[in-house]
């Protein structure tokens, strides 16, 4: 990982990151009942964390959506922004392998994902697991769908990155990696609720394999595409 590139990426995406962090903090603190009424206190005392959206007050889904929106903006921003400004030739001519440059970009994205999607979810889960914080049962297996949502967000980030990076003649073909991920997530969701339910382990494995595939595709496209 190249620290100079990591710092640059973080600085360029700082407004987005700060905005997403504020929304996530608001959602988290509101749900934990740490905010005054006028700022939005979602803790009614009747929530059952991680049970399902209805009882959960939708906070898990809301956090995932904020993480997803940030993932799309980040993935596209890290690629299209360089292309539109024409700065790729400057960056790629530095004495560093192309793989390392793009791996650093991806690591920054993964770090932001960890900090702004996984961490709020983990804090919420820890709060839910702490006795005396809410009047409802809690078991760690109940958080499986939340971690799956986190992986979905990671996959959305990788798809957005690939959409921005891969050359395409027109918008629809440029969006193909995103369309594929969207379809996959939809199928997994339907498979879980309608057809024979997939085990969490199977779903997570599928998501991890697709994530790995997308990372490989990104590094491959980064190496072979024209930067004209």
């Amino acid at each position: 990982m190249n620290l100079a590139i990591a710092r640059k990426e973080l600085k360029e995406m700082l407004p987005l990151i700060v905005l997403a962090a504020l929304v996530q903090l608001w959602l988290l603190f509101g749900t934990l009942g740490l905010l005054p009424e006028w700022l939005g206190n979602f803790n009614t005392g009747y929530i059952i964390p991680f049970l399902d959206p209805f009882f959960d007050g939708d906070v898990v889904m809301a956090m995932a959506l904020v993480g997803g929106a940030l993932a799309i903006a980040l993935g596209l921003g890290q690629t299209l922004w360089e292309l539109f400004r024409g700065t790729f030739p400057f960056l790629l001519h530095r004495p560093l392998s192309r793989t390392k440059i793009f791996a650093t970009k991806l690591l920054v994205g993964a770090g932001v994902w960890l900090a702004l999607t996984v961490l709020p979810m983990a804090i919420y889960a820890l709060w839910a697991a702490t006795p005396g914080t809410h009047a409802s049962p809690f078991a760690w297996w109940m958080t499986a769908s939340a971690w799956q949502l986190c992986l979905n967000v990671l996959l959305v980030y990788l798809a957005a990155f690939l959409c921005g990076l891969r050359p395409a003649r027109w918008y629809v073909s440029r969006l193909l990696p995103g369309v594929f991920v969207g379809s996959l997530l939809l199928i997994l969701q339907i498979a879980q609720f309608v057809f024979a339910p997939l085990g969490a382990a199977v779903t997570l494995t599928i998501l991890l394999v697709v994530c790995a595939g997308y990372v490989m595709a990104i590094l491959c496209v980064a190496e072979s595409r024209d930067y004209s």
């Binding site: 790729f88 030739p89 400057f90 004209s228």
Partner: protein
């Protein structure tokens, strides 16, 4: 001495259009090579292929003895590249851009150098503050910052893609003079593209002219100026068309005058002129700009003459 750049049959298509057509050339170490061509001739594409930014459809290029597609970081540290338009991160200040670029050259496992003092001197010379934001700099100042960043690692090879594009005359002259002054190190090779003939004439030892993706000229600048001649043939009545022959670059018919541009004008051409019935032949030297225009413009349709001219 070995060649700093070797290009062998490099070809690139965009769609059906062949933008670079089997170009082969060699740039000796220590040479300042001016790469000329009109807009859209394929200069930038060829330079991007050299720098590994664009993949060639066929052919290959080597820079400092390494394939352009597989440049190691160590070799890339020896090559400076100023891309067209001087792209820099506009959100950074000049100081941040310097620190950002510097971080790739210091404390590396390969041999790389970075001259902090040189950067400071260049920025001071151009009166550019390190606290200034890149986005607030003029095109000329951005070019100057790019130049400072490109030269700080003391590169053996400089590749400049139209470095004076978008600069006004004064800044362009100042920028070129800086380049001439700064690159004067023995053994340093410079390959730069331009469509500013005066710029090339001032700096280049050798020139190449690319016309529609084809390298039409590759020779020392002085040789090019001495060998290309404009020949004006005058006829009684309408001038005929000059037949295709070796060395004929272009011809233009204006009434009874036939203006030819010929490389290596000699006996063969004189004989043809006589056989066509030319009543007067005038052979003139050409400056680089006129020769370049003749080369890149190609044949043109006969110019129309005004009716009152005919009536006289």
């Amino acid at each position: 001495m070995s060649d700093a750049i070797v290009i062998e049959r490099l070809t690139k298509h965009y769609g059906r259009k062949r933008v670079v057509d089997t170009v082969s050339l060699r740039v000796p170490t220590g040479c300042v090579y001016g790469f000329l061509g009109r807009n859209g001739a394929g200069k930038s594409t060829l330079i991007k292929m050299l720098m590994g930014m664009v993949q060639a459809d066929s052919g290959r290029a080597t820079l400092l003895d390494q394939d352009s597609r597989d440049q190691t970081p160590a070799n890339r540290a020896r090559i400076a590249y100023l891309a067209e338009g001087h792209p820099l991160y506009r959100g950074m200040s000049v100081g941040e851009a310097v620190r950002f670029t510097r971080s790739f050259y210091v404390d590396q496992p390969f041999r790389a150098v970075w001259h902090d003092r040189f950067v400071t001197q260049v920025l001071d010379h151009f009166r550019i503050s390190t606290t200034a934001k890149i986005r607030r700099l003029s095109n000329g100042q951005r070019a100057q910052v790019s130049l400072a960043l490109a030269l700080a690692p003391d590169p053996d090879l400089l590749v400049l893609d139209d470095p004076t594009l978008g600069l006004d005359t004064v800044v362009r002259r100042e920028f070129l003079e800086s380049i001439i002054h700064l690159i004067q190190r023995a053994g340093r090779t410079v390959f730069f593209s331009s469509h500013m003939l005066a710029d090339v004439e001032r700096v280049a030892d050798r020139i190449g002219i690319l016309v529609d993706g084809v390298l039409r000229v590759d020779c020392p600048t002085e040789y090019f100026k001495t060998v290309v001649r404009q020949v004006v043939l005058e006829f009684v009545g309408t001038a005929p068309r000059f037949p295709a022959c070796s060395g004929l670059v272009s011809q233009r018919q204006i009434g009874g005058r036939l203006e030819l541009v010929i490389v290596g004008y000699g006996a063969e051409h004189e004989e043809i002129a006589e056989s066509l019935g030319a009543v007067n032949t005038e052979v003139m030297e050409m400056n680089l700009e006129d020769a370049f225009i003749a080369y890149t413009r190609g044949d043109t349709a006969p110019l129309p003459t005004f009716e009152w001219e005919r009536a006289r």
